[in-house]
Amino acid sequence: MSDLAMVQEDVPGKRVPLVLGKQDFHSVTESVAGIVEGPTPHKWKLLFVLALSILLILLGSLGRLVTKGIGVWGNNTTVGWAWDITGFVFWIGIGHAGTLISAILFLFRQKWRTSINRAAEAMTIFAVMSAGIYPLFHVGRVWFAYWLFPIPNQMGMWPNFKSPLFWDVCAVSTYATVSILFWYVGLVPDLATLRDRAKTKTRQIVYGIFALGWRGSHRHWLNYERAYGILAGLSAPLVLSVHTIVSFDFAVSIIPGWHTTIFPPYFVAGAIFSGFAMVMTLMIIARKAFGLERLITMRHLENMNKVIVATGTMVGYAYAVEFFIAWYSGNPYESFALMNRAFGPYKWAYWTMVSCNVIFPQLFWFKKVRTSIPAMFVISIIVNIGMWFERFVIIVTSLSRDFLPSSWAYFRPTIFDITTFFGTFGLFMTMFLLFLRFLPMVAIGEVKSVLPAADAHPHHDDDGHDAPGSEGMSKEPVHAA
């Protein structure tokens, strides 16, 4: 695969095309839509059964939780939040990369995003769903969880607008809504493609309904581009705001180790960090499983690795600044909280976090590592483990030893903490597998726009986009598709 190997070079001005091989409009459609239309692969069936079983574990755990009470988890009076909110922040963080890739990179006209943005957005939505499990079910009386929403009622009871948890509810539900809309709008032209290629009546009707009567007219494309742009504009600030507000849950409280102003940027960087790692893990698998190496190229992966090393370094900087501020502020509680993190009973968690998040991603400074599929796969998983630990360290160690030593306690997870968290992966995987099977996992319309073929070119049969050394897209401006 000389064209794949070629991507090792990334010299501005001499960049390889974003899509490799002799791809034209038809072959892109075929390779993406073909996945959806072809027979269900056995591997998919196996994976789906596995994912469903894990989802059942989640349902069983939640069933036990709702019937017995929060006490089935290990949370206690001192450590009121533990794996529940850790899981919430973990999943919400993962979602961020999707929005970043699809919205912010779109606004910055980063064309390389086109082949991964659909899957990344799907990941966002499913990650937000998995995250949503926790705030919903971690309340003691889940049947009253709707009280957290500002629903007008005859009693005139409103949520407490001062509470960061209420801001959180607003931020996350806004985020979920906008993400779904954005994703769906992007899907419309591709759904129409599937509708048009449908061989059965059912497919035609179902895709037809969701394609919203898309005919591919210029007016449609015009409206589509506008809507897409507006939604991208709406999503972009959400990348920053959602995790900022999630961090307010902690930063606005008075608990040493939580009450710090660095949390918003620190959380956003961490979210992007973990999100990119998750996209990486998923893309490496999907790319291999569905033979999409030519659409999702090494260049995409390498770019993401660069984002990972950048955000990982930011996170490491935040860890250092926390210590500095704890010392500099002269606040004894704050210094104690930080020292306790690094050298107290949870030091094992702290040092796991530091090594996973700060040390391992630094390997991406080396091009060899950055472009090695096994290396990046392992590091992406390490980063996700590290980011889970980061949330655990922040939440649990700070709570476990706060102001009065008489109340200090140690948190131990129960089997239900573990199964609930494990089960959320079942939800995520199930949704993701369904997405892969029934929706185009690559944005067909958008990828076509970055094909050389989309570029109106006089010497159509001899533009050499296939040859080594081609300057590809960087040479000429791309006209609107």
């Binding site: 009076t77 009121g80 009871m157 407490n160 102001f403 030593p405």
Partner: protein, 992 residues
């Protein structure tokens, strides 16, 4: 894990109306469990879900009543056809009664809601209560509503009606009368009832050869025998701690469970109010092996093995006699050598000097567990120091019944040599708590006829031929004398739930009579049928105290020669590792083993719940190579017990403290498998045995402790100063504070009306934890069981934090601090609740709307005091009807998934408001609202009231220079003030 629900559940909740519960039979399973003396896992702390399920049905700790708030009751509600006199639905009535415990009487006022008692308070008129109680007393109410109580008489385990019992007892009595009572032995518990004494007197008249003895594992028998030795006659010893300037406690926990603890604790606190006493503040020396509550309050505390306490007393007497020319007569020459190390000798000198300087204003008090000759020396020392008659008073003993382990062993011997064939045991549980060498359980099984009268089926009931269910003291008529002779009528608050009878009624049946308790008690007091009797009787019932019944001071004359003779018989103490036995902090002598409130109440210093441990010092633990929770195999004279170790700062080296009362085998569901039985190690000779051997390797268990962290981490939660420092600079607390610029983000609320606040005087707090139980009783707080305590989920709204501080772990000083919701004016919890379930009232209460709470736990996370309590599980579970009866109807019973916390007893505030409104007052007067924790506090450390009322006690306390607030630097503006603790150590003993 055992998950099977306990089968007794159905039986207990079958009837909805309490009157009909009496007819229920115990389930077959429960009866089967009785002979199972050594159940699996009895030696380990309980584990598994099954225990939790037991707990959820465990009677009165929990309730279901809250569910009626959201569901219509299915039962038909029928109003009174003819209303009982004075009962207004929703208005509690209060009745005076009394409880016999701690070798005295605690006068009580019982709150009764529509005919069911729900809360015990001390009787302010009673000298041994003065309005407060101990934690044990609070919890006795739960015992009455215990679903595991005995429901009927049983013959060899088979339920029998009382009619059969009556005819049986009459026949037995007739037979015994013919034999002039020969072969009959009656064992009473530490009873002080004039009526029972009178009925027993009648029995003695009819059956002159019957033997009557008194036995309770922990009693004041050694103190009384000490008076017999020292003065030739048995007296009660009454301490007036308030008057004392110097108190020397020798292995004595007089502030907690020896003597009359409430009265003594109150007196202790009165002698230490630095504002009043100034430099005349009392000084407490404590010399002890284990770290007791009293030891935690010492100004100077010396760790010394229990077996050396006697030596310390002798050296103290010698020093007083030789260096301070105290006239001890023949005693001085007869004092055996104390065998003390130079350090203890230095203490002897300093203490003797202090005592001699405060003649008539000192108290030397030895622990109940010290032998009689030590007490005799102490009595003589007090007499020689002229303390006797001032701070130490002797009054006539209740009676001259033979008592103590010797008397019990005598009975057991009688059974074995067949001179006794009929045993009648009134209360107590000698088959469990008798010294091992008495072999009482075997003797009981050998007796031809044995009858045990008891509220619960226990080890003694299981061994006896007959078990008769006894009326709880809140169910039957009786009377009781306090240690100073003051008599109270024990009037019942409720008809016996299971038809039990009192001891006097049983004796009367044996004598062929069938008088009810009421007639028996009236008969006692209406001796001469005086026309004024009815008035006096009503007054006694109303006041809870029989006017003029206090015993006069007895003049005593020293008999040093007798004491000298007794000392000659004393064997020198053996060396080696010693083991001491004390009453358990939870189960007492085992009687409260099935009481969930007490089992879950953390003891004052180790903060352990649910079980007992072998407490030892750090040095001893190091020498043995053990850590907390490691199970030790302790061997004394061939008998073994497997007890988990607990390392405690301030414990004496080469000494292990064990407790008696846990590890009960025939016990209800709560106490089953809790703790370890150490009774087989104890011998009648003394409460400490030397020469024990210890080995480890029996595994490790998790101890259910609520606070394992000892240090304050330099955070200054408890502020302390020595008396000299305080007198020089009363504003020392203010000086220590770091001044920070604090400002609020919001406009702060103004409090125009009432402004509720609390002040807690840490100088008065002794750490007894009675407040925790009182709060639990008042506010329907559930128990959660040992696994949940291990996972820090205890529900107590007020806890007593304990820290150790000072140089070196071994000589650390203990400080205690009751911690509850501080009702912060800028409450961090209120700000973060997403649904506004916790809000501020216009009077400054941090209110909790349980119905609005969805249970995010955010408030608890953001609470800097960690006083919010979350219902992680359905702790109120399926509750038997009898359990619901213990609930306070004025307080919502919380359901699973909601947060709860101290409400400053808002229900009491509202009652007071209604009363004030009715009486036409504009404001509630100071003292009209008394919080439950405040009311029970033996030392009156807690004051509560309106901070806007400048004349209120709490406002004065809050403006005391010693007052400070916790975590003020967070700008949360707490409403609870703490008053710094003042210590008065002897300067001569600094560093000694």
């Amino acid at each position: 894990m055992k998950r099977a629900p306990y089968p007794l559940r159905e039986d207990l909740s079958g009837k909805s109306y309490w009157r009909s519960l009496g007819e229920l039979e115990g389930s077959a399973e429960f009866q089967e469990s009785l002979p199972a003396e050594f159940p699996e896992g009895a030696a380990e702390p309980p584990t598994g879900v099954a225990r939790r399920q037991f707990l959820t049905i465990m009677g009165a700790s929990m309730a279901l009543a809250g569910l009626t708030a959201c569901r219509r009751p299915e039962e038909k509600i029928v109003p009174y056809a003819r209303a009982p006199e004075e009962v207004i639905p929703g208005k509690p009535l209060y009745f005076a009664t009394a409880l016999a415990m701690h070798g005295t009487a605690i006068g009580l006022v019982v709150e009764s809601h529509e005919g069911r008692p729900t809360k015990l308070e001390g009787n302010p008129k009673h000298p041994d209560s003065r309005g407060a109680t101990t934690h044990f007393v609070q919890a006795t109410m739960l015992d009455m509503y215990d679903p595991d109580r005995s429901e009927s008489p049983r013959e060899r385990g088979t339920p029998r009606p009382w009619e059969d019992v009556s005819s049986y007892l009459r026949t037995l009595g007739d037979k015994l009368k013919v034999k002039r009572g020969k072969g009959l032995a009656i064992i009473t518990d530490e009873q002080r009832s004039p009526t029972l004494a009178r009925v027993l007197g009648e029995l003695k008249a009819a059956m002159p050869d019957a033997k009557i003895v008194r036995y309770e594992a922990f009693s004041r028998v050694n103190v009384r025998r000490g008076t017999q030795l020292a003065f030739g006659k048995t007296y009660e010893t009454v301490l007036d701690v308030a008057k004392a300037r110097v108190v020397v406690a020798l292995d004595s926990d007089f502030l907690f469970n020896e003597g009359s603890p409430v009265k003594q604790a109150r007196g202790f606190a009165e002698g230490r109010q630095p504002e009043q006493t100034k430099s005349a503040m009392s000084r407490l020396y404590v010399i002890e092996s284990g770290h007791s509550v009293t030891g935690g309050n010492a100004d100077n505390r010396l760790r010394l093995q229990s077996r050396k306490i006697g030596g310390f007393v002798f050296e103290l007497a010698r020093e007083l006699g030789v260096a301070h020319k105290l006239d001890l007569g023949e005693l001085l020459a007869a004092l055996p050598p104390g065998e003390l190390d130079p350090r203890a000798q230095k203490w002897v000198k300093a203490i003797a000097k202090d005592l001699a300087a405060h003649k008539g204003r000192g108290i030397v008090v030895a622990g109940d567990l010290q032998p009689a000759e030590v007490h005799a020396v102490v009595h003589l020392v007090n007499l020689a120091l002229t303390n006797t008659g001032n701070t130490v008073r002797h009054v006539a003993a209740f009676d001259e019944t033979p008592e103590g382990p010797a008397a019990l062993m005598d009975v057991a011997k009688g059974v074995r040599d067949k001179s006794i064939d009929t045993l009648l045991i009134l209360g107590g549980n000698p088959a469990y708590d008798a010294p091992a060498d008495a072999k009482f359980a075997e003797a009981l099984a050998e007796a031809a006829t044995s009858i045990h009268v008891s509220t619960h089926v226990n080890e003694t009931s299981a061994k006896a031929q007959w078990h008769l269910n006894r009326a709880h003291y809140l169910e039957g008529w009786s009377d009781v004398r306090a240690e100073d002779g003051s008599a109270s009528i024990v009037q019942p608050l409720i008809a016996p739930l299971f038809g039990g009878r009192t001891d006097a009624e049983v004796i009367d049946l044996l004598l062929g009579g069938n008088r009810r308790g009421y007639d028996l008690v009236r008969g006692t007091w209406n001796k001469d049928s005086a026309p004024t009797f009815e008035k006096a009787w009503r007054r006694a019932l109303h006041d809870g105290l029989w006017d003029g019944s206090t015993a006069p001071l007895e003049p005593v004359a020293a008999r040093p020669a007798d004491v000298a003779a007794a000392l000659k018989l004393r064997k020198p103490s053996a060396g080696g590792l010693e083991v001491t036995f004390r009453a358990d902090a939870h189960a007492y002598d085992g009687r409260f083993a099935n009481n969930g409130w007490l089992q879950e109440l953390p003891d004052s210093l180790a903060k352990m719940t649910w079980g007992n441990a072998a407490v030892l010092s750090q040095a001893t633990a190091k020498a043995l190579g053990v850590v907390d929770g490691e199970v030790l195999t302790i061997t004394v004279d061939g008998a073994q017990a497997h007890v988990p170790a607990l390392v405690m700062p301030g414990h004496a080296d080469e000494s292990i403290s064990l407790t008696i009362g846990q590890g009960r085998t025939v016990v209800g569901r709560v106490g089953k498998g809790v703790g370890v039985d150490c009774t087989q190690l104890r011998h009648s000779a003394a409460f400490h045995s030397a020469g024990a051997s210890v080995s480890k390797g029996a595994g490790k268990v998790a101890l259910a402790r609520t606070q394992e962290h000892y240090a304050m981490e330099g955070r200054g939660m408890v502020q302390e100063a020595e008396l000299g420092e305080y007198l020089k600079e009363p504003e020392f607390v203010e000086k220590r504070k770091e001044k920070l610029p604090l400002f609020s983000l919001w406009e702060e609320q103004k409090y125009e009306g009432h402004k509720w606040g609390m002040a807690i005087d840490l100088n008065a707090c002794i750490g007894c934890s009675a407040c925790t139980i009182a709060c639990q009783s008042e506010n329907n707080i559930p128990i959660v069981g040992p696994e949940n305590v291990i996972n820090s989920r205890e529900m107590h709204w007020i806890r007593v934090d304990r820290y150790f501080e000072g140089e070196g772990a071994e000589e650390a000083r203990a400080v205690t601090q009751p911690t509850l919701c501080n009702h912060c004016e800028m409450a961090p919890c209120e700000q973060v609740c997403p649904v506004g379930a916790t809000t501020h009232s216009p009077e400054g209460l941090n209110d909790m709307a349980y119905n609005r709470c969805v249970g995010t736990r955010y408030c608890a996370n953001n609470c800097p005091f960690k006083v919010r309590r979350y219902n992680f599980l359905d702790y109120h579970g399926d509750l038997p009807e009898i359990g619901k009866m213990a609930m306070n109807p004025d307080v919502t019973v919380r359901f699973r998934g909601v947060m709860e916390k101290c409400s400053f007893c808002v229900q009491r505030i509202n009652h007071a408001k209604i009363d004030a409104h009715r009486d036409g007052h504009e404001r509630i007067t100071d003292g009209a609202v008394v919080a439950a924790c405040q009311q029970v506090c033996p030392t009156q450390a807690i004051s509560f009231g309106d901070l806007n009322d400048g004349k209120s006690v709490v406002a004065k306390q809050a403006s005391n220079p010693r007052a400070y607030k916790l975590l003020e630097e967070l700008n949360i503006k707490p409403r609870v003030s703490y008053l710094a603790r003042i210590r008065n150590p002897n300067p001569e003993l600094v560093g000694a």
